[in-house]
């Protein structure tokens, strides 16, 4: 049943992605040309995959959090912290694999911290993750001592800019992560539990779901995903920039999840569609860049996009359209 409803939902997002890509193609006829050079693919399409990978990875973590009726504002700051840890350790002479593992562990701990605030102390998710969003960049700067730490480690650079079977490494990591997380949530009962907690946490707990454990899990996953994205971004620019790494990416990740049809009111969610959402955002970014508009134009387009998605998702629209799965939307207000 889940599969069929997913297929039904898949249409608008995939159509939107195809639509954006076609508009790009009209603006820039060479958009779909992919060439093979130096053992890897080149082209605008590959660029969309490569540039979209960090947001896609963040979205994979974010989708679980939003499905539990939460939100994680700290992912951008956690990216900066993870990048700072990896870069500083490599520069200090530790082998790269250890630095990568350490950065991942730090990301996991950041996520666990958010999870404890939300699940154990019962703080609203926006505010709980705001703490780390504010303090995280300070911590990252503390680690790098205020400098942009640059490195030449081949492994970290490979993670950020390398290629695997001709495809950019970042995109490959995003794809593998998406597949693993999708399988875990859809082939086990975890996905169902997450939806249950998102629709009604008290009822889910009464039904025997360990909602506290589950919340810790989804926030930890979000932290881990942020750390992966942080390492990729650091590897890409060969340095850790505590101020600018992952700046505003939390907003892109939330947007990607919302475009992917996951309701901000919790419940129904889809990991692959959130990734499609991230690709839509990146395809628009690339489109605006290749068509010569200033990059700031992007923000206005994104605002319009959020508005359209909100109108489609709102109870107002579902009253006009034929009824479909719409959990918990009517409870609020009036």
């Amino acid at each position: 049943m889940i599969r069929r409803s997913l297929l039904k939902l898949a249409n608008p997002q995939l159509l939107a992605l195809v639509g954006v890509l076609l508009i790009n193609w009209l603006l820039f006829p060479n958009f779909f040309r992919v060439t093979w050079q130096d053992g890897r693919f080149f082209g605008s399409l590959i660029d969309v995959l490569n540039r979209g990978a960090p947001v896609a990875i963040l979205a994979v973590g974010m989708v679980g959090v939003i499905a539990t009726k939460g939100v994680d504002l700290s992912v951008g700051a956690v990216m900066a912290v993870a990048g700072a840890v990896a870069a500083t350790m490599v520069v200090a002479g530790y082998p790269a694999p250890i630095a990568v593992v350490a950065a991942l562990v730090v990301g996991l701990l950041c996520g666990l911290w958010n999870g404890i605030l939300v699940a154990v102390l019962d703080i609203q998710p926006i505010i709980a993750t705001l703490v780390l969003m504010v303090a995280g960049r300070g911590i990252a700067q503390l680690i790098t001592e205020g400098f942009i730490v640059t490195f030449n480690d081949p492994l970290l650079i490979y993670i950020g800019t390398g290629s695997f079977l001709g495809f950019p490494m970042a995109a490959v990591i995003a794809l593998v992560l998406t597949i693993i997380v999708t399988l875990v949530v859809r082939r086990t009962a975890i996905g169902l539990f997450i939806e249950a907690v998102g629709v009604n946490r008290a009822a889910a707990s009464l039904a025997g779901i360990r909602s506290r454990m589950l919340l810790l899990l989804v926030y930890s996953l979000s932290g881990l995903c942020a750390a992966i994205a942080g390492i990729i971004v650091a590897g890409d620019i060969r340095g850790a920039d505590a101020n600018n790494a992952g700046l505003w990416l939390e907003l892109d990740a939330i947007l990607a999840v919302v475009i992917g049809g996951t309701s901000l009111l919790g419940g129904r969610f889809s990991v692959p569609l959130a990734v499609v959402g991230a690709l839509i955002i990146q395809a628009m970014n690339t489109g605006i860049l290749v068509s010569g508009f200033p990059p700031e134009f992007n923000l206005i387009v994104k605002a319009g996009l959020i508005f359209i998605v909100l109108v489609i998702q709102s109870p107002l629209a579902s009253r006009l359209a034929p009824p479909r799965l719409k959990p918990a939307a009517k409870v609020a207000a009036k």
Partner: protein, 324 residues
């Protein structure tokens, strides 16, 4: 009402202790000069935080504040410098534009029934993008009116100065406190934050109040943007990035409870002053780097959230079941 006073008292106490400790280390911090600068330097943050207090009291959040400040700064600068308008006329236009903007967000939040943070997030993108589309550079403002305003100060004994913008902030805080605690609109805001369903059953005009709250927040953000342009004599599209986070922190540190319904406008004033104290201390110390500001604000935020939680759990055991 007594339990909602406790976070306010805690904030006032922490501010007093922190200030006393800072004065013990740097005796010169206890001067009218430093206190006057406290008001001037934090004026734009304080004004925005008054609007944020109303939003949070009603149980919402407004992420667009910083972007509206930046947008207003650019709009005012462009109207004055490029179009040759009188500043007061430009201010009026900016306030009207921001008011319309806030009202639209309020309408969307109420009628689309979506979380405030995503609507105001779209607003943030729109305002920031709009400012960058008008101009991508810093636009300087040269006008005798600006020079006149920055000369408009009250000298205090001991070399301190109360500037016009500092006094504007204090005035807005007083008016805000009167509106929150002494008017019908104020009690609607509290009722909405306490429980929107019972508020509407008791006859609170939910739609009108929601629209008014977000309009107020954007108008105050616009005034804050005007003050920021008086402070810097320029408009820059990337000005005041992240001010919304500082404003939220000030409100929370000031003892307003994040789920809405409890809090004081004057508490926010102490919250703003506490943030100002952290910054001034770091400047006085000289060896601490500026990123410590972020860490200290994060720690303060965390402490106050936990404090609120403990007070809430201690005094309202049934709250959790209701909320879920």
């Amino acid at each position: 009402m007594n339990r909602s006073l406790r976070p306010l008292l805690a904030t006032a106490l922490i501010f007093a202790i922190a200030y006393a400790l800072a004065v013990m280390q740097f005796p010169s911090m206890f001067s009218t000069r430093v206190l006057g600068n406290f008001l001037t330097d934090n004026a734009f943050l304080g004004i925005a935080a008054v609007g944020m207090t109303f939003v949070i009291l009603s149980g919402g959040i407004d992420l667009s504040v910083g972007a509206v400040i930046g947008f207003t700064g650019v709009l005012v600068a462009v109207l004055i410098t490029w179009a040759g308008m009188h500043p007061l006329f430009a201010f009026a236009i900016a306030i009207i534009v921001a008011g319309t903007f806030g009202a639209t967000m309020g309408l969307a939040i109420h009628y689309l029934q979506v979380p405030a943070f995503i609507v105001t997030l779209a607003g943030m993108f729109l305002a920031r993008g709009g400012a960058s589309v008008i101009t991508r550079d810093s636009v300087p403002i040269y006008h005798e009116f600006y020079a006149w305003i920055s000369d408009l100060t009250i000298r205090l004994p001991g070399g301190g100065r109360l500037s016009f913008i500092g006094l504007t902030m204090v005035a807005i805080f007083i008016v805000g406190a009167l509106i929150a605690h002494r008017t019908k609109f104020g009690s609607y805001v509290y009722a909405l934050g306490g429980n929107p369903v019972s508020a509407s059953l008791m006859g609170v005009p939910v739609a009108r109040t929601t629209v008014a709250i977000y309009t107020l927040s954007s108008v105050l953000a616009a005034i804050s943007g005007i003050v920021f342009s008086l402070y810097t004599s320029a408009g820059y599209p990337l000005a005041a990035v992240g001010v919304e986070l500082d404003a939220i922190s000030a409100v929370v540190i000031g003892g307003t409870i994040l789920t809405g319904g409890y809090g004081f406008v004057l508490g926010t004033f102490i919250g703003v002053m506490l943030l100002g104290l952290v910054q001034t201390y770091i400047i006085f110390d000289g060896t601490l780097s500026s990123w410590w500001t972020k860490i200290v604000i994060g720690i303060l935020l965390f402490l106050f959230i936990v404090l609120q939680r403990l007070i809430f759990v201690a005094s309202a055991p049934g709250e959790k079941a209701q909320k879920a």
